[in-house]
Amino acid sequence: MDLDLLSNILYAMVRCGTPLLLVALGELICEKSGVLNLGQEGMMLFGAVIGFIVALNSGNLWLGVLLSMAAGMLLSALFALVALVFNANQVATGLALTIFGVGLSSFIGAAWVGKPLAGFEPLAIPLLSSIPLIGRMLFAQDLLVYLSFVLFALVAWALLKSRIGLIIQAVGENPDAASAMGLPVLRVRMLAVLFGGAMAGLAGAYLSLAYTPMWAENMSAGRGWIALALVVFASWRVWRLLLGAYLFGLASILHLVAQGLGLAVPSSLLAMLPYVATIMVLVLLSRDALRTRLYAPVSLGQPWQPGH
């Protein structure tokens, strides 16, 4: 394998891992605050379709990005209402959100399938992008990928170094104690859910405006679910999330690698790889029940109401 191919693979790996990273960052914050939102797939698709339609009609890609984030937040607000205010089962509500989001996006997007759009183009940073091997991967991406680096840094700082991170984790670990300390548990959780929605919407916009600038039904192809597995893979730690997202990005471009190496494997078999990898990773990491229990936020998925 020559250097050029390797550099291309690394480039594609980051591109492919970016939507996963974005969704997973949002879900991480959400789960750290104790809320399990299984609706990532639905929010992502809704964000993708809204971003695409807005960008195509207004000719402004950034307006598309902005509104797709708003779209994700809108759906996550629905989730917050039903799961946090009405205290419905979070698993069921998340599933409902996914089914609803998938249906809504296909319904809205039916007239827009296959329309061409000039999406975000790669923007190479001079000098830096000509570093061998990693130059292309880190410095010749499109603007949304750079944005994902910034967002990762922000989330990592917030979780590891800031007071906000402490508050979120306090609420997720022990909502009763956090509430007794005077923290507004429900409000923190709602904001975390909204943040997750915005990130999922952004990931959707990345898919429909940069990764493959078009709209197709179910174009996220399970990335929302893979991101949920990623959070487990990362044991709720932010640096491992970054690693995991790119590893999964690599798994989903392996068909390119196989082509590059001249292997003839049917594409539908290679398309299974990210899903198989997800299962294997889940198996490897969940085998040790104690570990999961130690790292998972204690109140994850449990309803909580003030004054109980």
Partner: protein
Amino acid sequence: MLLSLEPRGQQSRVMLWCSPLLAAGLTLACGSLLFMLLGHPPLLTLHTLLIAPISDFYGLGEWLVKTLPILLCALGLAVAYQARIWNIGAEGQLLLGALAGSALAVNLIDMQSRWALVLVLCGGTLAGAAWAGLTAWLRTRFNANEILTSIMLNYIALNLLLFCVHGPLKDPAGFNFPESAMFGDASRLPLLSEEGRAHAGVYFALLALIAVWVLLQRSFVGFQIKVLGLDQRAAGFVGFRHKRLIWLALLISGGLAGLAGACEVSGPIGQLVPQVSPGYGYAAITVAFLGRLNPIGILFSSLLMALLYLGGEHAQMSLNLPQAITQLFQGMMLFFLLACDVLILYRPRLKLHWTRRAPVATTVGAL
């Protein structure tokens, strides 16, 4: 004015059954609003969606054809959900059932005896059960979250199916279309009547309905499954073997979904095609919840869901509305159901005046 929720102290049995009806009603109301916004007259659209498709004999037959796979999948899911095993994999289990059934049927094309059909259906059922068994094994042996593994297995099953219709199972005389050969007559489900496509799979569905009802409502195993779902620790204390129950719930769940898949390919379709299921396995999730995980409730909610599927096709043809309207309604219904379920445990109270919350008493100068 302020609407507030007041705990009832116990669950309301009336609301338990009114909430699905309320959810269906709200979905229709929201749907009408949506149609109005899109410039379609709401009453006419609802008529096209819900009444026109089943206003003739052929339509009634199609209704049964669509109900069957949804009902079978949802019955299976109900067993799993009663145990709080979140099996989202009915879609994949259905596809695997269809795939295995087809693989058998294609190799039995020349067989004349009715055993061919038996083999196809059994093969499908077993394959569905095995696919769910994979989830059960990952859960019981490796403690892997069954939601994520079963979803991933759905995608894997779909790709496996695509691989097979493009490769090993492709009809050699099929002009390179990704389809299997048409099955032999012996491995096709008999039709119920000369007209329409309604087929003998209906009997299996009725049988499954009764079996699941007996299992959940009248058997000790069903009781164990429910206890496991309500409180896993309690189930452990009385000595129920929870791993065995997880296996059982998932195998039943997968077997029924697999049977649904085998019935689809040997019934109305007659060959393996890439689009075996327009998301029946996902629809079944909504159906199971809407039917309150109760077999009788599920019968009615699967009829409703099948009607939505038919209506979606009908609305696409006559009103040019996207067919995704079916999924949109599915999602809305599940959302409304979960929101309405708050009324089971809480009573809405309308306060006519803002009342300032009484200040919380604090002690000053003492611990």
